[in-house]
């Protein structure tokens, strides 16, 4: 899937709802993100299209809230609570995910296997 700025994107997405884990003062989602429009997309190991500056899930902690919710390494985050994540800086994405006043984040993610599954089912 490649994206052209200004053009609508078609992707098969999965909704993932993560309930943050309270850890002292911190709310933990249990995953890490990489990417963003201010990052070098060529170094993103997970994107198919190496110019894709989207936000990707780079790590998911074992047994953490994100893993429980079904988030997977390599997922591309399309939206967070309705906010677009395909054209944001790394830091914007991080802030969007880590709002202190939100216990739950709802993600739209897409991943290769979803695309493949669709593809497969269409065959």
């Amino acid at each position: 899937m490649s994206f052209v700025a200004g053009q609508p994107v078609t992707a098969i997405v999965q909704r993932i709802e993560i309930r943050k884990l309270r850890h002292g003062d911190n709310l933990i989602l249990g995953f890490s993100i990489g990417g963003g429009i201010d990052q070098d997309p060529a170094q993103n190991p997970y994107s198919e299209d190496k110019t894709d500056k989207g936000i990707y899930v780079t790590r998911v902690s074992e047994g953490g809230p994100a893993e429980v919710a079904g988030l997977q390494i390599g997922d591309k985050i399309m939206q967070v609570n309705g906010w677009d994540m395909t054209m944001v800086t790394h830091d914007q994405a991080r802030k969007r995910l880590t709002k202190k006043n939100e216990d739950i984040v709802r993600l739209l993610v897409t991943r290769k296997s979803l695309q493949q599954a669709l593809h497969h089912s269409l065959q």
């Binding site: 933990i28 989602l29 995953f31 890490s32 993100i33 990489g34 990417g35 963003g36 990052q39 070098d40 060529a42 170094q43 993103n44 190991p45 997970y46 994107s47 198919e48 190496k50 780079t58 790590r59 998911v60 902690s61 074992e62 047994g63 893993e67 997977q72 390494i73 790394h90 991080r94 995910l97 880590t98 290769k112 296997s113 493949q116 599954a117 497969h120």
Partner: protein
């Protein structure tokens, strides 16, 4: 392909239903058959006209009777049966893990600037899963009547009977090759309306007579001659329409050579043969005789037919191995299992299609071929069908299909690829979460075979459908040892592919540690007062898991950090190793794995562990600041001699080391701190003394090498502890090892150890001879042929030893080292060896007090100059290709020396440095990173770069700069935890 898919899709449902219906019929028929048995006996009437029967012809009835007799006296039978059985019967499921043998591991040694080496072993583990099958012979004629009536079930009965019959009668050897019962069932023809036809017994035996001698799997299908007609029972006539002719078409069934037969034996424990009902039968490959050892012995094969019931064939009173879980009516079917299985397995089978097609498609191991061997009339399901069956609504069908896949995939990359293309892998992964043990076990088995091998695409495919978390989940859930072995074996396989390592760490590290490593290591976090410390259990699960962690521990600093910080891991590994040492049980694979993990985790430990800065040796910073580095960088190769001349003993360095006080401890050490406590020295030395496993030796020496590198307090302790524990003689002894890599690791370790002044004196005195004798050159060639890397390592070690020690240089001269060095310098094929030798010679020449004796020996200054023709001043030109493999080079921090001393050497280093790194680099590039892995690559390298930047050693510093230039063009990816 397409039409197959269509057909299979279309026919699956229909045929399954049909089969179910048939099933019922069969069941009824079976009952009937039982009732009829006695009648049948009387009825036995052998049609002698058939050629197939001719051998047996007359004896048939006799044989049958005998059989009956036997049944009555099972004991005799048993004994006889036992003797012969092993050969024929059952194919076993042997899963073998990896081939610990060695051959597949890629080892790369990465040496970082400060002298720590990290050896990366990528072990391609071999999981060999042989799914064995029981081979059930075709039905004997003798019993003709018998099978007949009963209709279907009879078929199986016959088989078993047949077998017995044969044994008893000694008439013929049991044919090895015959088809498996299952096969027969599988090939259930759609057209078939009469059960009897299907099950009629088959006289194939004669045909097998020739084959019979060889039990090897090879022999199996090869000679199979289709010519025998089915034995006509009275009741029924063989259906000619069945593909009899087809046999002729495939006269040459490719024998499957089972490579594993022997392999398996070598390795580890074969998997327990599982009595599993389904699936196994499909396999036609019989084990070679070797395999019998495992599980076959004493197993009466015939057990599983219905006949079993009537005739207590089971020797040894063993129960028939397969538990029959019948999909549908388990209770009813019990004994007839094979049947059912067959039926389910091949819901789609349509004889008309002929196996030809599938044969072509699937290649030699294709199911169709197998079926040819067996019974040409039927065919096995082809691959799309098998994969479709994975989604069948009946669980047993799923598990059978998975087991069959496992069998098909065994060392067959072609099939693996097809399974991948047919999208079978996601389905298998999905089955891992299946509640039924049989299903997830089989799915796991199939995945293990699929994940094995150098074809990384399959591994990636497993990862892409989230197979790794699924495996880890299953590991948490299951207590079944076999399943755990399969899971960990699969993970081990997966861990051999670089890009998957971090995924395994992310998803499975803590689970693997908690579920396997800790419990099996015997380590307890909070030991009970009353419980004795436990020893490690060297289970297959532990071996697999440690192998997996060993692979992932080579995945760069991030991986090392994760492993070090993984709670209980280091503690448990150490405990396991202590236990191995205590028991003098140090040659096993698991020990090797553990030591390798320890070694990898010890790499760069002085930089990477939290708080390492606190232990940094204070003197270092000032002495080798960047400033001097810069300056030296500008130095140029002209100044060797002069600067060298300044070299003198640095006496002051010694003083710290002899009187080191180990720090007092208040709390017990745990976790990664254990890695570098002086106590580990004794452990590694014990391994070095006792182990006979070269990999273990190398890893233990590598661990000492890593720990003695670096410039922090702990490495000082380690260096002096090695001496105090009398480790130096042990290491020197190992310089005589036959193993190249052991010699190399030991040489580098000695080099790092000689940073300690006392060590340097001792090593100079006692190791010089052994170091020199490993060198080529001069008249005598060393006994072993060491690799270039090793020679260079030795030369660099010698260099380290003679530096600042003219008495050591003297030892070198006495050990006839000069002659060899000069020879290498002059005529070595290897530029790197040449450079390293030149380096040593220059150092030696720099000791003015030695020049006189050297002159007396006939040497003059020209011998000690670098060989200019090959080592031009600028050497940059040659630099790239001639890469100074750093494995040994710059290693140690020079904090103890004063800067000037080193300036002379700086020059060559400057050129070497970058090359060193480029070697590293090259290695990494060699890994087949696909686009997706690019940054994985970057991650790996990055820490190294950083390290280099921090480098205090000038020469290295320069090197690293080049390196950075080359690779650091892009901003590093940011990664934020949320």
């Amino acid at each position: 392909m397409d039409d197959y898919d269509v057909r299979s899709a279309a026919s699956i449902l229909a045929s399954v239903k049909e089969q179910e219906a048939r099933f019922e019929k069969l069941t009824r028929a079976l009952e009937e058959e039982r009732r009829n048995v006695s009648m049948q006996l009387e009825r036995v009437n052998i049609p002698s006209d058939r050629s197939s029967i001719s051998n047996i012809g007359n004896s048939e009835s006799f044989a049958w009777q005998q059989l009956v007799l036997q049944e009555q006296s099972p004991n005799n039978l048993t004994s006889k049966a036992t003797m012969q059985e092993p050969h024929e019967l059952v194919e076993e499921t042997v899963t073998v893990e990896e081939d610990p043998g060695t051959p597949t591991s890629h080892v790369s040694v990465v040496t970082s600037d400060d002298g720590t080496t990290r050896r990366t072993e990528t072990k391609v583990t071999k999981v060999v899963k042989t799914v064995t099958t029981r081979t059930v012979r075709q039905v004997p004629l003798g019993p003709d009547g018998l099978p007949m009536e009963g209709s279907s079930p009879a078929g199986s009965c016959t088989d078993s009977i047949d077998r017995r019959y044969m044994k008893n009668g000694d008439r013929y050897i049991t044919p090895q090759a015959n088809s498996t019962l299952t096969r027969v069932y599988n090939s259930y023809p759609d057209s078939y309306d009469n059960h009897h036809d299907l099950y009629r017994s088959y006289t194939g035996q004669d045909g097998f007579a020739d084959v019979s001698d060889n039990y090897g799997s090879l022999s199996r299908g090869v000679h199979y001659r289709p010519r025998y007609a089915y034995v006509p029972r009275d009741n029924y006539r063989p259906d000619e329409s069945y593909t009899l002719p087809s046999r002729n078409k495939y006269p040459v069934a490719q024998p499957q050579v089972q490579p594993d037969g022997t392999l398996d034996l070598n390795r580890s424990q074969p998997e327990r043969f599982q009595p599993e009902p389904y699936g196994l039968e499909d396999d036609h490959r019989s084990l070679g005789p070797d395999d019998d050892g495992y599980e076959l012995d004493g197993e009466p094969e015939p057990d599983y037919s219905t006949a079993g019931r009537r005739a207590p064939t089971r020797t040894n009173g063993r129960r028939p191995r397969r538990g029959y879980e019948d999909p549908i009516e388990a209770e009813i079917i019990e004994d007839r299992m094979p049947y059912l299985t067959g039926v389910y397995n091949a819901p789609l089978a349509q004889p008309e299609r002929g196996s030809m097609a599938s044969l072509d498609r699937l290649g030699r191991r294709s199911p169709s071929i197998d079926s040819i061997r067996k019974d040409p009339r039927w065919r096995d399901p082809d691959l799309p069908e098998v994969i479709a069956m994975l989604s069948h609504h009946l669980d047993p069908v799923k598990s059978n299909a998975a087991a069959y896949l496992q069998h098909l995939c065994y060392e067959n990359d072609k099939i693996k690829k097809e399974v991948r293309q047919l999208k079978g892998i996601p389905i298998l992964v999905g089955l891992l979460d299946h509640p039924k043990p049989d299903v997830h076990r089989r799915a796991c088995g199939a995945l293990r075979n699929i994940s094995y091998g150098k074809d990384h695409d399959s591994k990636v495919a497993i990862k892409n459908c989230d197979g790794i978390p699924a495996l880890v989940r299953l590991l948490r859930k299951t207590n079944d040892m076999e399943v755990r072995e399969l899971i960990t074996g699969t993970l081990w396989n997966l861990s051999s592919y670089e890009p998957l390592k971090i995924v395994i760490i992310n998803h499975g590290l803590q689970t693997l540690t908690n579920e396997v490593i800790i419990p099996h290591s015997g380590w307890e976090n909070e030991p009970n007062e009353d419980s004795k410390p436990r020893d490690a259990e060297w289970t297959t699960v532990f071996k697999n898991t440690s192998g997996c962690l060993r692979n992932v521990s080579s995945d760069g600093s991030d991986a090392r950090r994760r492993l070090r910080e993984c709670e209980g891991l280091v503690d448990a590994l150490l405990h396991a190793l202590q236990s191995a040492v205590g028991k003098k049980d140090m040659d096993r694979k698991s020990v090797e794995n553990c030591v390798c993990i320890m070694r990898n985790l010890s790499y760069q430990v002085h930089r990477e562990v939290p708080g390492a800065d606190k232990f940094r040796e204070p003197s270092t910073e000032q002495q080798t600041g960047t400033g001097s580095a810069q300056k030296k960088k500008k130095d140029d190769s002209g100044c060797f001699g002069g600067k060298k001349a300044k070299g003198k003993r640095n006496v002051d360095t010694d003083k710290n080391f002899d009187t080191l006080d180990l720090p007092k401890r208040i709390e017990p050490v745990k976790g990664y701190e254990l890695l570098y406590q002086p106590e580990v020295v004794r452990l590694y030395l014990s391994l070095l003394t006792e182990s006979r496993n070269f990999n273990t030796l190398e890893a233990a020496a590598g661990a000492l090498q890593n720990l003695s590198a670096g410039q922090w307090t702990w490495s000082n302790y380690i260096r002096s502890t090695v001496r105090k524990e009398k480790g130096l003689p042990i290491l020197v002894e190992l310089l005589r090892s036959d193993s190249d890599k052991v010699v190399r690791a030991v040489a580098i370790a000695l080099r790092n150890l000689s940073v300690d002044g006392r060590n340097k004196d001792l090593i100079g005195n006692y190791a010089m001879h052994d170091l020199v004798s490993n060198l080529t050159g001069g008249q005598q060639r060393p006994a072993k042929n060491l690799e270039e890397d090793t020679i260079v390592a030795i030369l660099n070690t010698i260099h380290e030893i003679v530096t600042d020690s003219s008495s050591n240089a003297r030892s070198l001269i006495q050990a006839q080292g000069i002659e060899k060095l000069v020879a290498i310098n002059k005529s070595s094929q290897s530029v790197r060896e040449m450079k390293a030798a030149a380096h040593v010679l220059q150092t030696v020449w720099s000791y003015k007090e030695l020049r006189n004796p050297l002159h007396k020996d006939g040497w003059n200054k020209s011998h000690f100059q670098p060989n200019v023709t090959t080592l031009p001043k600028g050497a940059k030109t040659g630099g790239k290709s001639s890469g100074y493999d750093d494995s040994t080079l710059p290693l140690i921090e020079r904090n103890q020396k004063d800067g000037n001393k080193w300036s002379g050497e700086m020059i060559p280093m400057e050129q070497f440095g970058p090359d060193t790194y480029s070697t590293l680099d090259r290695r990494e590039k060699e890994r087949k990173y696909k686009t997706t892995d690019i940054s994985g690559d970057a991650f790996e390298r990055q820490p190294l770069r950083n390290d280099t930047n921090k480098r205090n050693i000038d020469r290295i510093n320069r090197a690293s700069m080049n390196l950075v230039d080359a690779h650091d063009t892009k901003p590093q990816p940011v990664d934020s935890w949320v």
